[in-house]
């Protein structure tokens, strides 16, 4: 069979959706961090000052959540954990140190990517639920104050986890060369696919990726 130089990984719609969520995340994170700690309050200047950061943040957050729902629906089943994933996770140290020998075959996503997906899903739900409870002037007054007090902690904590998660997500793209192309142009090189996601490579090239008989 023919071996294409590049393989499609993300459709234009998936890319568009991803970057809308990413832009919303950057804006929500900067405006949120401005209220997170005094040392970061200067970020509010990017939004036109403290009141504007406070006004815009929840609307940006809701937009992020709604567009993320599309991401969530589209990638949900692709991120189901398998036994191979759990085995892969046991060798996570080797993966981090770039020692990629004897790892179980990886499909479209490796276990690290899958955990990242579920981490994002969890954080998004926590953020939207707690965010609505503390949203002034619209909703906060309708919730009991003790619940609002829990919400502010949940919101701040899940935001920190998400920010650190996104730092890992972004770094993984810088770390694994040839990855950014997947989300910018929609495709990856055949070599990249075969090296990092052999199972997926086989699947998209018609079950003949070279790994079936030999190993």
């Amino acid at each position: 069979m023919s071996d294409p130089k590049y393989i499609e990984r993300y459709t234009p719609k998936e890319r568009g959706n991803h970057w809308i969520v990413a832009l919303c995340f950057i804006l929500a994170a900067l405006s949120g961090l401005s209220l997170f700690h005094p040392s970061l309050f200067f970020f509010s200047g990017l939004f036109g000052g403290g009141p504007w950061a406070r006004i815009l943040h929840p609307f940006i957050g809701v937009a992020m959540f709604l567009f993320f729902c599309i991401t969530m629906a589209r990638f949900w089943s692709l991120n189901k954990m398998t036994d191979a994933d759990r085995t892969w996770m046991k060798s996570i140290k080797d993966v981090i140190m770039n020692r990629e020998k004897d790892l179980p075959e990886i499909g479209k996503y490796n276990a690290g990517q899958k955990y990242m997906f579920w981490l994002m899903v969890t954080c998004m739900w926590l953020l939207i639920a707690s965010g609505i409870m503390m949203w002034r002037p619209y909703f906060a007054a309708s919730f009991p104050i003790d619940l609002v007090r829990v919400a502010v902690v949940v919101h701040a904590a899940s935001a920190v986890v998400l920010v650190i998660g996104i730092i890992v997500h972004v770094y993984a793209t810088i770390w694994v060369k040839g990855t950014l192309r997947a989300m910018m142009r929609g495709n990856v090189s055949a070599a990249w696919a075969r090296h990092h996601h052999p199972g997926w490579y086989r699947e998209v090239t018609g079950g003949n990726g070279g790994n079936t008989g030999g190993k």
Partner: protein, 292 residues
């Protein structure tokens, strides 16, 4: 107020000017002397140039029903059976307690929107208020109110402008029965204990002073007839800033901020120490060969 008088400032991590020391002040409200005339409410409106909307009568004396952005103090009326078959009519002047450790100030993310003066007064600097309502979340006494008109938080200032020039707050000045007094915190504490003692002698065996230690003491204190049960007049028994707020605003924030920065730096270190994962082009060739 001079900026040198500010000893604590919201959204600020470095010490505020603290060389100047002024006497800590306190307002003392003697529940037993209050007749519920609401002159304090009127004086407060008058001095602070506030006019609340005309409300509706719902069958109780409380008017308005609750503290609002333009009603910073409020007489609250309580009909309670303190013992079986003994009805008492208790009246409490509600408003900001001016805590020594203010939860509102701790929760506020906006630099300088809430300040504490060296005389103990906690004041909202409205021009710095961003309208997030975190002060409401932080307050153990349910005092700050957010205006629907401008989304800014408002509450009693203890007439910080009057106190700054040596005058008593407007409510104190106007009270016809002397139920509200004002002076140094020390004097007021001594006077409060004396009054509580007098009340106990006169048969109010549970009379005492309300100056809750959970918030470091307050600069508005009460002499209560039932100090053992402050909840009878809508006061929390042992108020303190919620542990949730302490968790939210305490050491966790600088630690979490550092963690986020460190995560980014860890990525950089990994890149320079371990290096990127690259797939060589000839691997693609091999790939093609293998398939051939």
């Amino acid at each position: 107020m001079q900026s040198q008088d500010i000893v604590a400032r919201s959204g600020t991590t470095t010490p505020s000017p603290s060389v100047r020391q002024t006497t800590e002040v306190a307002k003392l409200i003697d529940e037993s002397k209050c007749i519920g005339c609401k002159a304090c409410q009127v004086a407060c409106m008058n001095w602070n140039d506030l006019r609340d909307d005309v409300g509706t009568n719902v069958g109780v004396y409380d008017n308005p029903q609750d503290l609002t952005p333009s009603s910073w103090t409020l007489m609250r009326f309580f009909e309670v059976e303190t013992e079986k078959d003994k009805l008492e009519w208790l009246i409490r002047k509600d408003g900001c307690m001016h805590c020594a450790e203010p939860g509102c100030l701790q929760a506020c993310p906006s630099p300088g929107a809430i300040v504490k003066y060296s005389n103990g007064i906690v004041d909202f600097i409205s021009e710095n208020c961003i309208g997030c309502g975190y002060c409401v979340t932080g307050c153990p006494f349910n005092v700050p109110r957010i205006s629907k008109a401008d989304n800014k938080a408002y509450k009693c200032s203890l007439c910080s402008d009057r106190v700054a020039v040596g005058q008593a707050p407007a409510c104190v000045k106007t009270c016809p029965t002397g139920a509200i007094s004002f002076g140094s915190k020390e004097d007021m504490s001594i006077y409060a204990e004396k009054r509580a003692g007098e009340l106990r002698e006169r048969g109010h065996k549970d009379a005492g002073v309300y100056d809750p230690k959970g918030v470091g003491g307050t600069h508005v204190m009460y002499v209560l007839k039932h100090a053992d049960r402050p909840e009878l007049v809508g006061l929390p028994k042992d108020p303190s800033v919620s542990t949730m707020v302490a968790l939210w605003k305490g050491a966790t924030k600088p630690i979490a901020t550092a963690l986020m920065g460190m995560a980014a730096f860890a990525g950089f270190l990994h890149y320079v120490m371990v290096g990127p994962k690259e797939v060589a082009e000839d691997e693609a060739n091999e790939n093609a060969k293998e398939q051939a």
